[in-house]
Symmetry: C2
Subunit: 763 residues, 2 copies
């Protein structure tokens, strides 16, 4: 028998037919009888006191059913870092003060969106403007005003990571570099904007359909903000049009729809406009980086010291985690014996910054991987060779932080080295190739939400016809977790993929799961599903054992609906027959298996890490500075591949988002006002035709902690691209751009400066 | 501590707030994007061959999306008696032959109901009329045509029950009577007509929202009829506006909506009109009764012989079960030593007859209880006394049929005797009082559906905030099972009713249950819920035991959220605290308990029986024959009362339906055409103002097989009324009406005849 009958096969997405035919339901499609439509009034000022809100004119408008302000809330300050109350700083409906342009101050429910929109214009808010801070460098000045009372120097969070003796180590270095970088903002640009339908009924129970990465978080956070018990709130995640880190905190659509519905006992739908999506939801964290890196002349990286200041925007949210992770991943994927990180997150009067695909790691790779190329050049060592000298290996322990079990970095370097060598032979003028190495986590261990539940749980139920219901809290936001988890369950249970029916992300019927972030579902929920399937299988095997009565030292297993002796696969019995007998044997109860997963003894960050190396090939137009992407080639090791089609999709999506981050996406502001809140022409993403080829170099590894040996294959792929492009630009034209995005203007200007100084690049 | 903290208390229905405010969703309220509306074309002939169906004109009508006929089905003949294929005789979309006026021949899906209705008119069906049979007496004649090929004498089913030596016993009787009775038709008249929304999606999965008494049956039956696996079909029962026996088979709304949706990959809604409801759905079985009854002069009933012929209508359905039950309950509630029943169900060309509240028992009580009064008069014995002499008692075994555990019949007789005595003292002229005794089952043991699952199952899940999710397949059709089951769960687990959230009757998320028929949910699903709650409680008590470390001989229990030593209730710990600890102790998995129930060693009919005596007081207008209801007084013993408000509601509803059956409801026909298919003025139900007082005489019993000692309190209450009214009419004016309904015409005519014969009645 082949090793696996389901996993590793090229299957279509289990939700695919519904999605491509348009019959699948998204939150936007949820329409309930008697439903109202909500809109949110937002602050036009970056920083102001609210003196008075007069809603009387709006309330009188025909068709308006309710107008609510912060005074109608219980005033609970929320935050996803529930474990640390001081980091829960966001009211959603502001009572006394607004802190960014877009901060919600009132909401309206009306018979349609037009009326609700009109009503917003009729709400009179009297503000007293306050001085505003937009740059974190200004925020931490002694004389800056406090954006949140009592927060000294506007430092929202700081993070310190250190091991070894950094100062002593620098003394032993032959070369030391110190470089500054700046990473820009970026928006998730989900196809589906934030939206929710909330229905509070006369039994005082609330049901919320919403586009979210974590139905369970929304349930818990809404409970706090509405003063309800979690169990009285049901959150259902329909099909979801993308999350990318922007949808696992409670947002204004969810909270305002729920609050309006609670007051009205009628369903309320709120769908954010694209402009609101850009200006009033969270975004990737911009960061100032200062890095000092020291090496010996033989290429050993002895010490690294990283100082980071991030633009926090008005509130904490997941930005606190991004601050930690950018520090942790700044040591990746190398064995620094001496490392120090100091990160500061400053409040500013801008839209809050938070998680976005990569979660702080793309910033550390953009900065770190360029600097490694620079120090390699200083030392005269090949860029891949210096990565080989210092790269992590299996069994490495990041001091006090993490245990690396599987690690295929060196295989990736070997394959990429051969690839780059071949490419360089045929590369035309003005072309360059740059590499970047990286690692990423398979879900996070840090429990900021302070959940008392296992991180992932699953229930498997086998019905009389052999059909398997899989109940999981995992959130398929388009990344394909429904498919991956169904494949894991089918493989473990020994049935076909079509035998599985996935029920996911409904807090009333599915066991809790922390949701889709940090690339956690495959490993964490996959382990829970595998355990649940194994639990159900064990029950079937008991009956099969009794029926087949083999020598008791023989092992039984199930594969492709055939229960058999592992060593004599032809001796067996149909899965369907044993299911019927087992249910009868259990007095008619369906077979039910339960599984859960929480990482234990895996350090502080993640139970497993993926690694990879990416090469970006670009051409630079010397007359305009325009960078054109020619190819993005990736060697990514993610352990056993559950769903090859899924990984290909992840790679293409990640390359597009990360390359956009590298060369064109940004959110310029004027006095806190985002200037390009539109996908029309203003906010520049890469379109299909802008995308180069994205070949994959296959790497085979096995992660002992993962289900069937699988680990991360999601966000990690977003990390390397900006750094690789930066190195490729330098390779192409000899200029080094240390701020994102790498625009034609910056390259052109740098080329002019280089020409003026008369310093030749490599070409 | 009081014995129970939840059960026995007067609580409002858990679904009450949603229902009374109109926010609860019924199937009719389900509206899906892209949804179409369906209509069914029905036979205008009672019996005919289908020669040809031309749908081309209908298909061309703008707005029509699909027209289907029997040729588009897989031709599977369905029936709820899945265990006996010969009883599965119904195609729903007829291919070759129609057998009653209303038999479905085609269905249409269109953009709205009007267009669908117009399309029906454009379908050309060429019929060849066949001779039709309307009366079962004609159906069993030698020369009658066969309504179903190969079914001799049109006998669909026959049933024989016998014990003792009936012929020998009659020889020993001092008095023998032989009487004929006829029981009429009646319609369920649910406020909500049959309806379904079916949505077949591109993953080839079908979801059906429907008004049903048994979501699980609909799932299984649709699977057979559509050629699908059960697991690919999800049936969800929203709030339901009544069932009364009319909604546990697959109906044309469900099947046609599902079939249309399967062909179109679009949601289809079908709601039957009131006229269709009356003419083309099933109804109470009309029966011809012949009973021979013998007694000794001291009032001992020695032998009973019952022969019944029922009007089957065109198909089998649940009518086969009604035939069995009317035979079984014709021996109730008496200890006949010698008993013989022969029942025959004849096919006729009328709307199929089936189950309706009481399930054959109201017929046996109308006939049997009048005859007992007659033989008592013949013997000169008081009607209550003769019932006392022969009435069943605890521990009685119905030979070969049933084991009676608890039985409070004699308490009921005692209480009723005192009541009647008091009433008689003050009763005016032309008033009469009649009693009737009865018994009923608490769910059926016969497994006609051939389910492989436990008859009832439940899952209880406790979340971190102490909230309890109860998952049950039980179907709340308005009778209040959601409330009763929540109360049982809360009591067993030791929490408050408000801590329970019920999830019921969704085949994808709730474990299977056979549904709401035969008064089974309280005892059967109640036992499953109690077992599930006990399973969950046991897990909590393990942690409490470890924490409190009492002397290990002490018992722990939970009551009102307080975990305590049973004998030292003040020593304990909060339920909420232990829930948190237990979930943590189980590595973060929610506490889950499972329970199921299937009767074992309880004979062939039911695990438990309720008993009662009812007195009807009427006045008869001697000039018009009009019977006016003055009071319906009931002594019903249902074991421990879980929900007193629920029983009161059941009694009022049952009295209204049963009294309507007794005095005004009927479905007269002309050549198979029902003449009064409207609630406007044609079909006469009792209105609120027609209803008399319905006092309850409380009886306290305990059923060992039931949850907390509970048993049936649903349909049983429908049984006695027609018989009691018959006896009351005789008591009032001396005429005995042996056919239902007891209309003014019949009474007037009988009074005239009595006057003509010069024979005086009692008054």
């Amino acid at each position: 028998m082949a090793k696996y009958s389901v996993i590793g096969h090229r299957v279509h997405n289990v939700d695919g037919p519904e999605k491509i035919t348009g019959s699948g339901k998204y939150t936007f499609d949820i329409t309930l009888p008697n439903m109202l439509y909500g809109k949110v009034l937002r602050s036009p000022f970056p920083h102001a006191k609210i003196l008075k809100i007069d809603t009387s004119k709006a309330e009188k408008l025909v068709g308006v059913k309710k107008v609510l302000t912060g005074k109608d809330t219980i005033g609970f300050k929320q935050g996803i870092w529930r474990r640390f109350p001081e980091l829960c700083d966001e009211e959603i409906l502001c009572r006394d003060r607004v802190r960014y342009i877009g901060d919600p101050v009132a909401c309206v429910a009306a018979i349609d969106e037009d009326v609700a929109e009109q009503a917003l214009d009729l709400i009179d808010v009297e503000y007293e403007e306050l001085p505003a801070i937009f740059d974190p460098m200004d925020a931490i000045k002694e004389d800056a005003i406090q954006i949140h009372e009592g927060v000294e120097l506007n430092i929202n969070v700081n993070r310190h990571i250190e091991w070894g003796d950094v100062d002593e180590a620098f003394k032993k270095c032959d070369v030391i570099r110190e470089d500054q970088f700046r990473c820009s903002s970026q928006h998730h640009c989900c196809m589906e904007t934030h939206c929710a339908v909330a229905s509070y009924d006369y039994s005082n129970k609330l049901t919320v359909w919403t586009s979210t990465q974590a139905a369970y978080y929304v349930q818990g956070l809404l409970a706090g903000m509405l003063g309800m018990r979690e169990g009285d709130i049901r959150v259902i995640k329909p099909h979801t049009g993308g999350g990318f880190g922007g949808k696992f905190e409670t947002d204004s659509a969810q909270f305002c729809a729920a609050l309006l519905s609670q007051k009205l006992y009628r369903p309320v739908k709120i769908v954010l406009s694209r402009e609101e999506e850009f200006t009033a939801t969270k975004r990737r964290t911009p960061m100032y980086y200062n890095i000092k890196l020291g090496a010996t002349k033989d290429g050993k990286l002895l010490a690294k010291e990283v100082r980071v200041l991030t633009e926090g925007g008005a509130y904490t949210g997941m930005g606190a985690t991004a601050l930690y992770l950018t520090g942790f991943f700044s040591s990746f994927p190398y064995k620094y014996a001496n490392y120090r990180y100091d990160g500061y997150r400053a409040y500013t009067n801008t839209a809050p910054t938070s998680a976005q695909r990569g979660f702080g790691a793309p910033q550390s790779v953009f900065t770190g991987e360029q600097q490694i190329d620079m120090i390699a050049e200083d030392l005269g060592i090949d860029p891949i060779e210096i990565r080989r000298i210092n790269g992590m290996t299996e069994g490495y322990e990041v001091p006090g932080q993490a245990y690396i079990q599987s690690c295929g970095l060196h295989q990736c370097l070997d394959k990429m080295e051969a690839y780059v060598k071949e490419r360089k032979k045929v590369m035309p003028a003005n072309h360059g190739i740059g590499v970047s190495a990286y690692g990423f986590m398979s879900g996070g261990i840090f429990n900021w939400f302070d959940t008392p539940y296992a991180f992932s749980s699953a229930v498997v139920r086998i019905a009389i016809d052999g059909k398997v219901d899989l109940y999981t809290g995992a959130c398929d936001i388009g990344q394909g977790s429904n498919t991956t988890l169904a494949m894991i369950t089918a493989e473990e249970l020994g049935v076909r993929l079509e035998d599985i029916r996935v029920h996911s992300a409904d807090t009333a019927t599915c066991p809790p799961d922390l949701g889709a972030w940090g690339s956690r579902e495959t490993l964490m929920n996959g382990n829970a599903c595998k355990m649940a399937a194994a639990d159900a299988k064990r029950q079937l095997l008991e009956f099969a054992q009794a029926k087949l009565h083999p020598n008791i030292v023989y092992d039984l297993d199930i594969k492709d609906r055939w229960i058999h002796l592992v060593d004599r696969p032809e001796r067996g019995i149909s899965y369907f027959d044993i299911v019927k007998e087992a249910i009868r044997g259990k007095d008619g109860e369906a077979i039910m298996g339960r599984g859960h997963y929480t990482p234990h003894r895996k350090g502080m960050i993640s139970p497993a890490y993926s690694f990879g190396v990416q090469a970006a090939e670009v051409s630079v137009d010397p007359d305009t500075g325009r960078v054109k992407l020619e190819a993005i080639t990736t060697a990514h090791e993610s352990g056993t591949v559950i769903n090859p089609v899924g990984i290909e999709g992840q790679l293409e999506g990640a390359a597009s988002m990360a390359a956009g981050y590298a060369i064109c996406e940004d959110q310029p502001m004027d006095n806190g006002k985002i200037l390009n809140p539109s996908l029309g022409v203003d906010y520049k993403m890469l379109r299909t035709l802008d995308m180069p080829d994205t070949p994959i170099l296959e790497i085979d590894t096995y992660e002992p902690e993962g289900p069937f040996g699988a680990k991360e294959a999601g966000e990690g792929l977003t990390n390397p691209t900006a750094g690789a492009i930066g190195n490729a630009v330098y390779d192409a034209c000899g200029v080094r751009i240390k701020t994102l995005p790498i625009t034609p203007e910056k390259v052109f200007k740098a080329l002019q400066e280089k020409k003026a100084k008369g310093k030749g690049g490599k070409k």
